[in-house]
């Protein structure tokens, strides 16, 4: 073994990892900076930033910042991080860059649950949230049970097929509910929920989702290198001492819990879970040691930015889901067309 050559090669890898760590640091600082700026940004008293003096003197400004904007921003961050981390985990576990964390019946289940509650139980916020979360998890559960009963194909194919079927069932159910809904009162509420948004976030809502979000994200963060191994096919993963089925189910659940939680309070916010993992891979390669945390940071930044736009662009709020889809799709197109943005590869 020529240890000099080895050392030189590893040195090269290390120096690149060091460079990547700098990018990381900038992303982290970017998120913190954006968070603070966003806290001060809004339409009170005028469009723009609240000054420090006003924050000290004006009671209303203080309430606005700490009781409305702060929980809302924290939720936006949790939303972005959960969807992006979930997206990364799903894309790794399915070995497919086109899946997002809601596709195993989770998003459609949540939408159905919310609509069901609006039509039959009235529009109480806490009930809608509970129903959306319950049906999101039911979506995952159904997809999983159905996948176990399919008798052909590998694990991935079976889950994908049953996810499509369960989503289709829920979306048919959603159609029925929309048809039954009172067109003046309930239908607009369903539509509004489906567009997604954070305007109704309170500290209470944030606290209700925080345990699931933190638990899920910490778990995923700890297991982030393992995701690389679980992206391999079953036999190969098994040959490396992994229990592929059990560990994948564990990580899927850990990804879906925070996703279901944030969807239950924010509605359908599309494209974040699909796009952020792609950008993370463009910046940091494929190793999930780096791309999972990068995806979380990027998701936080992206969602806070979109939410800022949603609050400040127009006098009324623009639903968040519209902005994330619009910007997400635009970024996706740019990513597909350009090859030049690939850093250090």
């Amino acid at each position: 073994m020529s240890s000099a050559a080895t050392a030189a090669a590893l040195q090269e890898v290390n120096s690149r990892n060091l460079a990547r760590r700098w990018v990381f640091l900038w992303l982290g600082l970017g998120l913190i900076g954006l968070f603070i700026l966003s806290l001060l940004l809004g339409r009170y008293p005028d469009t723009g930033f609240v000054s420090w003096e006003r924050l000290n003197q004006d009671e209303l400004a203080r309430l606005l910042v700490f009781n409305l904007r702060l929980p809302r921003l924290l939720t936006a961050m949790a939303l972005g991080m959960s969807l992006s981390a979930g997206g990364m985990v799903f894309q790794m576990l399915f070995g497919n860059p086109l899946v997002e964390p809601g596709f195993l019946g989770v998003s459609q289940g949540a939408a159905f649950g919310a609509a069901l509650c609006i039509v039959f139980l009235g529009g109480s916020a806490i009930l809608i949230q509970g129903s959306a979360a319950a049906f999101a998890l039911a979506g995952l559960g159904l997809s999983y049970l159905l996948a176990r009963r399919i008798r052909y194909g590998g694990w991935v194919l079976r889950l994908v097929l049953s996810g499509i079927a369960v989503s289709a069932l829920f979306s048919a159910g959603l159609g029925v509910l929309k048809y039954m809904a009172d067109p003046l009162r309930q239908l607009p509420e369903i539509t509004f929920w489906l567009l997604g948004g954070l305007s109704s976030i309170t500290w209470t809502k944030l606290f209700s989702i925080l345990p699931a979000v933190i638990l899920g994200l910490v778990f995923l963060f700890l297991f982030r290198w393992r995701l690389n191994v679980l992206a391999l096919n079953d036999e190969t993963a098994f040959s490396m001492g992994v229990a592929p089925k059990r560990e994948r189910l564990l990580l899927l659940t850990a990804a879906v819990l925070p996703t279901a939680a944030v969807i239950s309070v924010a509605g359908m916010v599309g494209w974040v879970g699909l796009i952020m993992p792609h950008i993370a891979r463009r910046l940091f390669g494929s190793d999930t040691r780096l791309t999972l945390p990068a995806s979380m940071l990027l998701g936080g930044i992206f969602t806070i930015l979109c939410d800022d736009l949603s609050r400040t662009l127009l006098a009324g709020e623009i639903p968040l889901g519209i902005l994330t889809s619009l910007l997400g799709a635009a970024i996706f197109i740019v990513l597909m067309v350009s090859r030049g943005v690939k850093a250090e590869r």
Binding site: M1, S2, A5, T6, A9, L10, E12, V13, M92, G95, N96, P97, L222, F223, W225, R226, N228, V229, A231, L232, N233, D234, E235, T236, F238, S239, M240, G241, V242, A243, E247, R281, G285, S286, D287, R289, R345
Partner: protein
């Protein structure tokens, strides 16, 4: 005589209970430190046998022992440290670098929430050195040739530091020079005490590297023993149903078929 590292006793296995089993009462014993080649026509159950040896498939009946203990009695992680697999081909979903990919072979030595260390990176790099592709360490897995990819999979298996190495049709993607390289690698591993079991469609390869050969037909072992005695023209003609002759050329045995 070498003790047996892996042995099959009356193993029955099938993929579907309603159809007939793929392996039916199979007996086999792998000697420690030997290279064993499994030959047989398509559908004879060669790959199935390999995945049973890996512990991935569970037999319907019979026992598979690793170092004298039933293979099910080992933990997954313990098995991952002892047995490595080089699959015939592999879907590579994302654009890993070669070194990142080889590093995955360290998984059995790391806890589920562990990260590979500098020492693991050294081992991965050594594995690249053993298969002679250190210059590729920073290339993308999607940008290298099929033969190079096979060598990367070999390096990844070596990073597992296994006692038993399983290869499924190792030469199917390799050109002549890479085939030669693989033969050298396998012989080198054998010198370091690794036991090797491979399936192959090429009697040539078996004659070139293996000490022992197993001829399979319809889920059973037809003949097994020393390669020179097993891979004869007569036996090969019988299992492949094609006239085969073994002709010595410059001291090496060559397989000729009509």
């Amino acid at each position: 005589m070498n003790p047996s590292l892996l042995s099959f006793h009356q193993v029955r296995f099938g993929y579907n209970r309603r159809s007939s089993p793929v392996l039916n009462g199979l007996d086999l014993s792998l000697k420690e430190g030997c290279i064993t080649a499994i030959l047989g026509p398509n559908g004879a159950g060669k790959t199935t046998l390999l995945y049973l040896a890996l512990g991935w498939l569970k037999p319907w009946a019979g026992v598979i022992n690793l170092s004298g203990k039933p293979i099910e009695s080992y933990s997954r992680r313990a098995l991952g440290k002892q047995i490595a697999l080089i699959p015939q081909s592999e879907h590579i979903p994302f654009e890993y670098t070669v070194l990142e990919y080889v590093l995955l072979g360290r998984a059995p030595y790391l806890p589920s929430q562990g990260m590979p260390s500098q020492a693991d990176e050294m081992i991965a790099y050594d594995a690249l050195e053993k298969v002679g592709i250190t210059d590729l360490f920073d290339h993308s897995m999607l940008a290298i040739s099929g033969g190079e990819r096979q060598l990367v999979l070999t390096a990844r298996a070596l990073a597992q530091e296994p006692r038993l190495l399983l290869l499924d049709e190792p030469t199917s993607h390799l050109d002549l020079s890479n085939k030669y390289r693989l033969v050298q690698i396998l012989k080198g591993l054998q010198e370091h005490g690794t036991t090797i079991l491979m399936t192959t469609h090429e009697p040539d390869l078996a004659l070139a590297v293996s000490d022992e050969a197993v001829l399979m037909e319809k889920g059973r072992v037809l003949i097994s023993g020393q390669t020179a005695e097993v891979a004869t023209g007569e036996n090969l003609s019988r299992i492949y149903r094609v006239p085969v002759k073994i002709i010595p050329v410059e001291g090496k045995k060559q397989v000729v078929w009509m």
